[in-house]
Amino acid sequence: MKSSNTRPDQFSEGPLDSRTVIGFYHVDLAYDDQKAIDNISFTVANGEFLCLTGPSGAGKSSILRLIAMDAFPTKGEVMVRGMLSSKMSRRKVPQLRREIGFVFQDFRLLEDRSVQDNISFVQLVVGISHAQIVKNNMRVLTQVGLYDKRHRLPRQLSGGEQQRVAIARAMVSSPKILLADEPTGNLDPVNAQEIIDLLFRINDAGTSVVFSTHDHGIVKSFGQRVIVINEGRIESDEKRRVPVNRKANLADKMYIAAARKERLNV
């Protein structure tokens, strides 16, 4: 696979500069003749926080699959970190995946391994030394507030904690891109807000984040770029200049405050 930092010649439209980490150029994706993505073009800059939203089945997850090169376009070209989907061999996919962090609604943790082992695995894959793994585990688990629970199995943690483990796993190799597919879908507003805050902190550190959600409440709280997908097409792509509320809406704030108080009482 030859990597290239230039956009493919046949796709000359749209903004592209050296800061582009993800580029979609007139992309179609079909599953069994059923179009999931229909002529989509957009780019994501280095360090950008992009929110993909739209109803269930709109094509958000398909876009994430294309970025992870878990699916390949039936038409058009996807470029991720300079790697083109048309020139990507399956053997090179693991290499790309190591530059991408993943966070899912259902956490996707290795259930039979401890928190620490889940995070170590990602590092073992890339051949990091044992001493460095221990240091990295300490760093990321402290960041997500789970260092004390490092020996526990995922099922011994709450949903929010499991999601924080997933984020720690995604971040431990310092990926350039973080893909978050409905990461707050299984969480209560308190935990959801904590996860969103965590993702913003990761983005502040320079990682491009692609966040997919169908939750309008969360989308409204974003002062970031939001792409609305519907029936496989881009309905709107706007960058909000004035953040509505980066943290949470009023109702959620009240719930969060109440829940926090309840937790303290416990």
Partner: protein, 294 residues
């Protein structure tokens, strides 16, 4: 190549599966062991039956009777001619007197009846034993054809009915062993492959997640292949152990039961290891080519 931390991880993971999936691994080893036990039993029965047939073949011989009245010199010159015939192992001269003595011995208590005879009616003969390769009907008939034309020879006897039956039984036995062996082998492979697939199905999600975080197929595969090999090894040892126990028990009662030689045992266990390895390899392919379901 893998770095030291990765090698340590892969070795640890190869054994960790036994701890994590105690029940599935235990059941896999038991099922594999049972399938392999049946296969080993059949092989052992085949070996023992083959051995019995070979022993029976050792009894194939020929008796060449000579005309009466031949002088000793003529009789004596037949011996070197018989020895050089291909397939003949040894030649023993049996005089009429020796033949009668043997006959008497064979009659036991009824031997007194021979005292009524005026003269010895038994002719002189040569007893031919055959080389192992010649202990079949075709070779015996070839030897018969060569000797029958000699003027000194009055009659040639060999246990044709016995050879015919033996040949027929050997053929049937070989065919039956081949057919049953093939069926048992296919069944064993099928059972083992499906059992390994069940283990893999339990690990499908883990494999998907490993792929998602950038693990190469080789990195994912190695612990499972090692686990498959260890399962094959344990199943092979289990099958051999049970068979050895049964062999020891039967030998005490039947006697003369032949068991696998140490080399054959090592070969069988290695075969089980390879079976476990290939079973895991084949079962994994499906999960490694599956998409990550993001």
């Amino acid at each position: 190549m893998f770095k030291s931390a990765q090698v340590v991880y892969l070795i640890r993971e190869s054994f960790a599966g036994f701890h994590r999936r105690k029940l599935t691994t235990g059941v896999t080893i038991l099922i594999m062991g049972s399938a392999l036990l049946v296969l080993a039993m059949l092989t052992l029965v085949t070996l023992n039956m083959g051995n019995m047939l070979e022993k029976a073949r050792a009894g194939i011989d020929m008796r060449v009777f000579l005309h009466d009245g031949l002088d000793n010199a003529r009789i004596a010159e037949l011996q070197p001619r018989l020895v050089v015939i291909p397939g003949v192992q040894s030649v023993t001269w049996i005089s009429p007197e020796t033949a009668l003595a043997q006959f008497k011995e064979g009659l036991g208590e009824d031997a007194a009846i021979l005292d009524l005879l005026d003269s010895n009616p038994l002719p002189a003969s040569y007893h031919l034993t055959l080389t192992p390769e010649a202990r079949n009907l075709k070779a015996v008939e070839a030897i018969h054809a060569e000797i029958a034309v000699w003027g000194e020879v009055s009659e040639i006897l060999y246990n044709q009915g016995w050879i015919d039956a033996l040949e027929s039984w050997t053929f049937r036995f070989q065919m039956a062993s081949l057919a049953v062996g093939l069926m048992v082998f296919i069944a064993a492979v099928f059972v083992i492959s499906n059992t390994v697939k069940l283990t893999m199905a339990a690990s499908a999600r883990v494999i998907q997640i490993q792929k998602l975080v950038g693990a190469t197929n080789t990195f994912i595969r190695i612990p499972y292949l090692c686990e498959g090999m260890i399962q094959g090894l344990l199943a092979g040892i289990l099958a051999m152990g049970l068979l050895g126990l049964a062999g020891w028990f039967l030998d005490d009662r039947l006697g003369g039961v032949i068991f696998f030689s140490p080399q054959q045992i090592i070969g069988f266990v290695l075969f089980c290891v390879v079976l476990g390895l290939t079973g895991s390899f084949a079962a994994m392919r499906k999960y490694l080519t599956m998409q990550s379901e993001i």
